[in-house]
Amino acid sequence: MNWSGYQMANVILLVEDNEDHAEMVKQSFGDDAIAKELHWVKDGQEALDFVQHKGKHMHAPRPTLILLDINLPKANGLEVLRVIKEDYDLKVIPVVMLTTSDRNDEILECYRLGVNSFITKPVKFEEYFDKLHSLEHYWLATNREPSPAH
């Protein structure tokens, strides 16, 4: 799904099964100065299809940032993360975990699999907004990422 409707340099893939949370992410990514294209998939399998250009995502753009939940249907976030980070081509894409969990064992596991950042969703929307806002600014405006390899 493409909210912005036009092709931009920054392609963000949001993997989130909770519609409300997805809506909150969309609302939080509000800085119009940063050009972006937000794609939303609802389960782990679809996320993998998206990055691997399979099925209906045959022509999906390559994401520049992936926001990944852990508790997902079909394939959970950790599996998706493992596939991405084990793929020579895909592993360069920054993956940020965005989840309600703050379990240390899950955080550790994610970092072992090569996650680039781990964010626990705050309950208060103000904090939620602030966190995603700084995330947006860091990964899309501050951080320098490699150009897609060919």
Partner: protein, 634 residues
């Protein structure tokens, strides 16, 4: 019945041990007969000893009587033999008689002179034939001699009185035996002079090796034949005036005391030689002093032997007492150890010499200890199993609590987020009433978030990965105080820290959380105290450290005391913020570290929370955290 308290009292040390008792008993048993026998022996000894020496002397005297008798007898027979030979020849011819007398004297030693004489008493032949001056001995008239007269008178062999040999100076006796013709008339006689120094030799050889023993042989007149003093002997002195040497009235043996010729007190045995009417006295005697000293020496010997026997008896008693007491003592040591919970001790198995009852006891105690050990092992295993089950159930519960709070979090996030977005996007269209509802909605969502966070913290108190490190507790307390610095300032609370606080090996965050929760709790219940104050201190105990946090707030009513550490328990009397989980988290951390938390409180005066934790928490006590880490590692 003895109470447990009495049983636990330390045993008094000042008791006599079994070995002591056994030693006393056995020692007494060993010593008593020795002592009794010793005393009896010592009192009887002198008499017994005197009796012994008397008997010894009597024996010697009788032996001598026999020996002297045989000696005299032998020589009498020699003289009679010669007389018989002469009689058989029937001739008193000098040439016939000379070889006979010479050969007989040569055959029998002891005769100084031997001669054959006619009935008139004049010698016909002698041996030796000549005296030292070269004059012939024959032709001497002996008719005046006492033995000649006695022989003529009785018609039988006669023995003279003792006299001193003129030339030899040796006491001697003459033995004369008649020679008869076929009709029975005396035609002559044979005489032999017997030297009595042979008797002295006999006496000397008899008493040889009998120290102190002396012998005197006296003739019927009391003149000495044998005497220790040679001078007296040579002089053939008459000692009949001395009571010691007085002739015996009749036959038999008499024991008497008296002085010898030198005035030394003697004890003597006297007997008489009656053969051939000799009537000689044999006196065997010893100095009384000597015999008494012998007796005294013997008494000393008896006492020494008795003493040695006593000593040996006591040594044996000691060894026996030790031998008997040792297995009992060892058994007692084992039982003591077992009573203190040390089951590693086991009584020795009985050996071949162990008494039956002792062996049975040893076997029974071994059996008992074995059973106790088995039972303890069984129980420990069972407890371990149960503990593991409880741990597992706890883990499941923790896990359940954790996931449930997690699952609750997602809808709360949505609720709060949606409400916030509604306020942001459509706030103006809601109106005052709508805005109020929305605020209540968000406030409740906020409270719910707080509840969930606290629940998660409580749950994590069991899952947190503890790091054990040596902590500077003053710094930990300062960090905790920093975290509630704003509230301290707002409430104008005076904080006193009794530095230095004892250090401890613990997890930094966990200890910080304990202090923070107790301090926060204290500040929450300060009430309207004019001078709110919180004091923090601590001390070291045996293997533990104990800290306290004291406030002068409203205190806790007795009826709420059992609810203080329970989850979600908030004291209804006061309206304060919070979810009521803080102290439950503290208790959980302290409990898991093997410690204890409690408080003392009085309404209106304040509350003091104490908690005590081991000075070094072992990894096992913080086990759950480590296990979680191990699982996630795999």
């Amino acid at each position: 019945m003895q109470s447990v308290h009495d049983l636990n009292q330390p045993r008094r040390k000042a008791r006599i041990g079994l070995r002591g008792y056994l030693f006393c008993c056995l020692g007494l048993v060993a010593a008593l007969p020795v002592l009794v026998l010793g005393v009896i022996q010592v009192t009887k000894w002198e008499a017994k000893q005197m009796d012994d020496v008397d008997q010894e002397r009597q024996f010697v005297a009788q032996t001598l009587i026999q020996g002297i008798g045989q000696m005299v007898d032998g020589h009498v027979r020699a003289v009679e033999t010669l007389a018989g030979q002469v009689q058989a020849r029937g001739s008193l011819d000098q040439d016939v008689l000379q070889p006979m007398v010479s050969s007989l004297r040569a055959r029998y030693g002891g005769f100084s002179v031997m001669y054959i004489a006619g009935a008139d008493g004049v010698s016909i032949v002698t041996d030796p034939p000549f005296n030292e001056d070269g004059k012939p001995n024959a032709g001497t008239d002996y008719s005046k001699r006492d033995y000649y007269r006695a022989m003529v008178r009785t018609g039988r062999t006669a023995i003279s009185r003792v006299q001193i040999g003129k030339r030899s100076g040796v006491p001697n006796v003459q033995i004369a035996a008649p020679v008869r013709d076929p009709k029975g008339d005396m035609v002559g006689f044979v005489e032999g002079s017997l030297d009595l120094d042979g008797i002295q030799e006999l006496v000397d050889s008899t008493i040889k090796g009998m120290p102190g023993l002396q012998v005197a042989v006296l003739d019927h007149e009391g003149r000495v034949i044998v005497y220790p003093d040679e001078k007296v002997r040579k002089a053939v002195k008459n000692l009949s005036h001395l009571a010691l040497f007085k002739k015996l009235g009749g036959n038999g043996i008499e024991i008497r005391t008296g002085v010898d010729d030198k005035g030394v007190a003697m004890r003597a045995s006297i007997t008489t030689l009656t053969a051939y009417d000799l009537d000689w006295s044999v006196v065997v005697y010893r100095p009384q002093v000597y015999e008494q000293s012998q007796a005294a020496a013997a008494r000393t010997q008896v006492l020494t032997v008795a003493g040695l026997a006593l000593l040996v008896g006591l040594i044996i008693a000691t060894a026996l007492a030790e031998g008997l007491a040792r297995p009992i003592r060892k058994l007692a040591n084992v039982v003591t150890a077992v009573s203190k919970g040390d089951l590693s001790q086991m009584p020795e198995p009985p050996h071949a010499l162990t008494p039956r009852e002792m062996a049975a006891l040893q076997v029974d105690v071994r059996h008992m200890v074995g059973q106790l050990k088995d039972y303890t092992t069984h129980m420990e295993k069972k407890i371990e199993e149960r503990t593991e089950q409880v741990r597992e159930a706890n883990r499941e519960l923790e896990s359940f609590l954790y996931s449930i709070t997690h699952d609750l979090k997602a809808p709360v996030i949505s609720l709060y987020g949606m409400a916030a977005m509604l306020q942001k996007k459509c706030g103006e269209q809601l109106g005052e009433q709508g805005a109020h509802y929305l605020r209540r909605l968000m406030s409740n969502a906020g409270f719910m978030e707080q509840l969930i966070t606290d629940l998660l913290n409580f749950s994590k108190a069991g899952k947190h990965e503890y790091r054990r490190e040596q902590l500077d507790v003053d710094r930990v307390v300062k960090k905790s105080l920093d975290q509630c610095d704003s509230r301290i300032r707002e409430g104008h609370v005076t904080v006193k820290v009794r530095s230095p606080l004892p250090s401890v090996v613990f997890d930094h965050n966990a200890l910080c959380k304990i202090f923070l929760n107790i301090i926060s709790n204290g500040m929450k219940f300060m009430g309207d105290q004019a001078h709110p104050c919180i004091e923090i201190g601590g001390r070291e105990l045996d293997g533990f450290v104990e800290y306290y946090v004291k406030d002068n707030g409203i205190g806790i009513d007795q009826k709420y005391h059992d609810k203080v550490f329970k989850m979600f328990q908030r004291l209804k009397e006061v309206s304060v913020e919070g979810t009521g989980i803080g102290l439950a988290i503290v208790k959980k951390i302290v409990d898991m570290a093997g410690g204890r938390i409690w408080f003392e409180s009085e309404v209106g005066k304040g509350t003091t929370f104490f908690f005590r934790i081991p000075k070094e928490v072992s990894a096992r006590d913080l086990g759950d955290g480590y296990e979680l880490e191990r699982v996630s590692n795999g």
